[in-house]
């Protein structure tokens, strides 16, 4: 029963958060200078035609009226039409979400194995030479600006050496892997150090934990101790960190997708912001918010599954 309570509390919280977010985004986007009708009709458009387009989309209504209609639609599950393409925002999001999800999954596949390997290496002899190098490389990896790395890698690996395409999403699974390799590596280089530090610190702390000593006192071999006792206990804090990272990556994909021209949610968000496509921006923000809350919930459930103490 308590798990159900956790889920119901989180969903209740989600509704509150979504309400807050849609209000904040609505106000922020509508207050930004620039008029979507003008951008839509183009520079040669006359004042009347722009006014007519605004009227057609209800942009000339007072803000609060627009917000009420927006909320009414939202409650009925319709997050509105894109001003630019006259298409439901849901359709646009479905079209653009696959590259971002694929990229996120790709980064995880590229980031998790090295993280585990490096953390084990580092934790074997805390303070040893290998450990220092891993740590310092980690700190360096942290400070490299992702967009600069993106530009440099696309310049050298992409264009001059031609190993990997510098843009797009490709077709078919191998096409995706091939096209998204550079963006994924650029993000992984930034993600691996953070995860490794966390897992390594947790592992080191666990090597001296009392229940490890107790297990050793009962004759368990080092291998059994590591896989059955140390790793499950050490993985919890890192799991939490990973949840935060993934939620951030989905929202923060803007930079990588802009540099590598990946048609993902990040690119759609930047274009929507530039094109003042209000409902796409708001829809995307809601999607980011929902995905963040769901991912955090998933991580909590996984943690509850692993750690009985959490099942309050």
């Amino acid at each position: 029963m308590p798990l159900l309570q956790l889920i119901s509390r989180r969903l209740l919280q989600l509704i509150g958060v979504l309400a807050g977010i849609s209000l904040v985004t609505f106000l922020l986007v509508h207050m930004a200078p620039g008029d979507p009708a003008r951008l839509l009709a183009g520079e040669r458009a006359s004042a009347e035609s722009i006014a007519a387009i605004r009227a057609q989309y209800g942009l000339d209504l007072p803000l609060w009226r627009q917000f009420l209609t927006y909320i009414a639609n939202l409650v009925s599950g319709d997050i509105g039409l894109s001003l630019r393409f006259q298409r439901p925002v849901i359709q646009l999001i479905e079209q653009f979400m696959w590259p971002t999800l694929f990229l996120t999954g790709y980064v995880l596949c590229l980031a998790v194995p090295p993280t585990v390997a490096l953390a084990i290496l580092g934790a074997r002899r805390p303070g040893g030479i290998g450990d220092q190098i891993i740590r310092l490389v980690g700190i360096a990896g942290l400070t490299i600006p992702v967009f600069w790395l993106g530009i440099m890698m696309s310049r050298f690996f992409g264009v001059s050496l031609g190993w990997f395409p510098v843009s797009g999403y490709g077709t078919g699974f191998t096409g995706h892997l091939h096209h998204l390799f550079l963006p994924a590596v650029s993000t992984a280089i930034w993600l691996v150090p953070v995860l490794t530090q966390s897992l390594r610190a947790a592992l080191i702390e666990k090597t001296t934990a009392d229940f490890v000593t107790a297990a050793r006192a009962q004759g368990a071999t080092e291998r059994q101790i590591f896989w059955q006792t140390m790793l499950p206990n050490a993985v919890l804090p890192t799991l939490n960190l990973l949840g935060v990272m993934v939620a951030f990556m989905i929202g923060g994909a803007v930079i990588v997708e802009t540099v590598y021209a990946v048609p993902g949610l990040g690119t759609l968000m930047v274009n929507a912001l530039l094109g003042r496509d209000y409902y796409v921006v708001q829809g995307l923000t809601l999607v980011f918010a929902v995905s963040t809350v769901l991912i955090t919930l998933a991580v909590d459930l996984l943690t509850a599954f692993i750690d009985p103490r959490v099942r309050f």
Binding site: F85, L92, F164, V166, S167, T207
Partner: protein, 514 residues
């Protein structure tokens, strides 16, 4: 004591090793080579397929491919030729045009009738939501005399009318389909009259076209390849994709990359004629540029020859008047604004505007930044205090529209060789564009603009437009910078593809070579 056993280390390194091999293995898969697709890349977005709803860059190229007009232009010479109208006759007073339609069908097989033509043109002219009614400004009424003849009556003789009737938003749409589906008609797969129809539209990503089997020009489009109009924002990515063979055509090639692309043997780097002019808008509504002397000083401070050479590597020629260089009746031998910084400094002092703050608007792209920085430096030299403010596209139009700026460098182009639309857009105070947001207004010029359209004799029209250029350049409505050709790079496997001065792709003339 607690060292981990060897076997685990082997497991960890195996995982690492596997990831590397997988990555290396990937890069040998060659990109899928599609012989029968023409992939055109441009920075602009297709936001609608309804010719009435927008006149923005990105949509105008699509309209040309989807909807035929009454007339068409020859791909090579640009001369007007019969389109959907086989022939037409003009009344002696030049106020009535009668078009005789040829037998033609829409993409769904239904016949194209005079009613469709009347509906399409009236829709552009009268509908409140029409984005660009200006070309039909002089039209009184459009009516279908019978199934095959369309009669257009004008308020007064209007020389540029035939040219205007060929503009991309004058495409003929199916009245039956629009009546049946309304807005839906243009949402995803519209009924088209042009050489191509829509196969799939993935907004913000690409538009896929395929040849229209019912196109009235038999044997066209020459190649039965599908066409992909792909939207890629960053210039470097576009160039990289072209070099990697992932795309066939790239528009708006940055000047710095032109020489580099000329050396690539698989790429045909061309500088095609255009009606584009780069100039600096000045805000006449507020000081310092409400003052004529200050504007003239600002003009003389700009060395547009050096700027043209520096920014475009000399591919663009300096501009001498406020109108595009390749527009009819452009005054070639007008001297233009001379570059005399010393005199400019004196003039500025005289004008009392020395030391004034000047707010220069610029967007984030490299070209706009370069122009803004060069203008800022040259104005600083003569005693102004210019500062650059970065804005995005939406905010640029918002600020210039409200007159909340002092100067802004930008480009514009004219859809037709005929200068009428150009002067209406750039220098006419009362034609609805506030002289391209500069709020320049000279009643004499406005009168000359109207006179220009009523005059039938080309020699007299030339005089009128020369006079307009002389006045507006002397009064520095805008500071002309340079006339830039269209820098477009084509993959050598395509033949017959060009970007016309009115920014239309000659896709129906294109065939795929070896």
């Amino acid at each position: 004591m607690n060292s981990l056993s060897r076997s685990r280390m082997r497991a960890a390194s195996a995982v690492l090793h596997g990831a590397v091999v997988m990555a290396m293995g990937l890069c040998w898969t060659v990109p899928a080579f599609a012989a029968d697709v023409i992939r055109v890349v441009s920075p602009f977005q297709t936001t609608t397929l309804d010719p009435m709803r927008s006149a923005a860059a990105g949509n105008i190229e699509t309209y040309g491919q989807l909807y035929s007009r009454l007339l068409r232009r020859d791909a090579e010479t640009g001369a007007l030729e019969p389109g959907l109208a086989e022939k037409w006759d003009i009344s002696p007073d030049g106020k009535t045009y009668t078009f005789h339609l040829r037998d033609a069908q829409f993409s769904d097989g239904s016949p194209i009738t005079a009613a469709d033509v009347a509906f399409s043109l009236e829709r552009i002219r009268t509908d409140k939501k029409s984005a660009y009614p200006a070309p039909l400004g002089a039209v009184e009424a459009v009516s279908a005399a019978d199934a095959k003849t369309v009669v257009v009556t004008l308020k007064s003789a209007f020389a540029p009318f035939l040219g205007n009737a060929e503009i991309w938003n004058m495409g003929i749409v199916s009245k039956a389909d629009v009546d049946k589906r309304g807005e839906e008609a243009f949402a995803s797969v519209p009924v088209t009259s042009g050489p191509y129809e829509v196969k799939q539209w993935k907004p913000n990503e690409k538009l896929v076209l395929e040849p229209n089997p019912h196109y009235w020009r038999k044997g066209y489009p020459k190649s039965d390849a599908t066409v992909e109009l792909i939207e890629i924002a960053s210039p470097e990515t576009r160039i990289a994709m072209l070099k990697a063979g992932e795309i066939d055509v790239v528009r708006a090639v940055p000047w710095a990359q032109v020489d580099d692309l000329k050396t690539v043997e698989t790429v045909d780097m061309r500088l095609e004629p255009s009606t584009t002019i780069y100039m600096t808008l000045l805000n006449h509504k507020r000081e310092p540029f409400s003052n004529l002397k200050a504007r003239q000083a600002a003009g003389m401070a700009i060395d547009n020859k050096a700027m043209a050479k520096a920014i475009t590597r000399g591919y663009a020629e300096p501009a001498n008047t406020t109108l595009p260089g390749s527009v009819d009746f452009h005054d070639k031998d007008y001297p233009g604004i001379s570059y005399e910084p010393a005199k400019a400094k004196e003039l500025l002092a005289e004008s009392g505007m020395a030391g004034r703050e000047v707010k220069i608007l610029a967007t984030a792209d490299a070209l706009s930044q370069q122009m803004a920085l060069l203008i800022q430096a040259q104005w600083q030299a003569i005693g102004l205090k210019p500062s650059i403010v970065n804005v995005d596209g939406g905010a640029w139009w918002d600020a210039t529209g409200k007159g909340d700026y002092d100067a802004a460098a930008n480009w514009w182009y004219n859809e037709t060789p005929d200068p009428d639309l150009a002067v209406r857009w750039a220098v006419c105070g009362t034609c609805g564009s506030n002289s391209y947001n500069t709020f320049y207004e000279n009643p004499k010029v406005d009168a000359l603009v109207e006179q220009g359209t009523r005059e039938a004799d080309p020699a007299k029209r030339a005089e009128i437009y020369k006079e307009i250029q002389r006045i507006t350049t002397e009064e520095v409505a805008q500071i002309p910078l340079y006339y830039a050709p269209n820098a477009v790079a084509y993959s050598r496997r395509l033949q017959g593809l060009r970007l016309t001065p009115s920014l239309q792709w000659t896709l129906e003339e294109t065939s795929i070579g070896q």
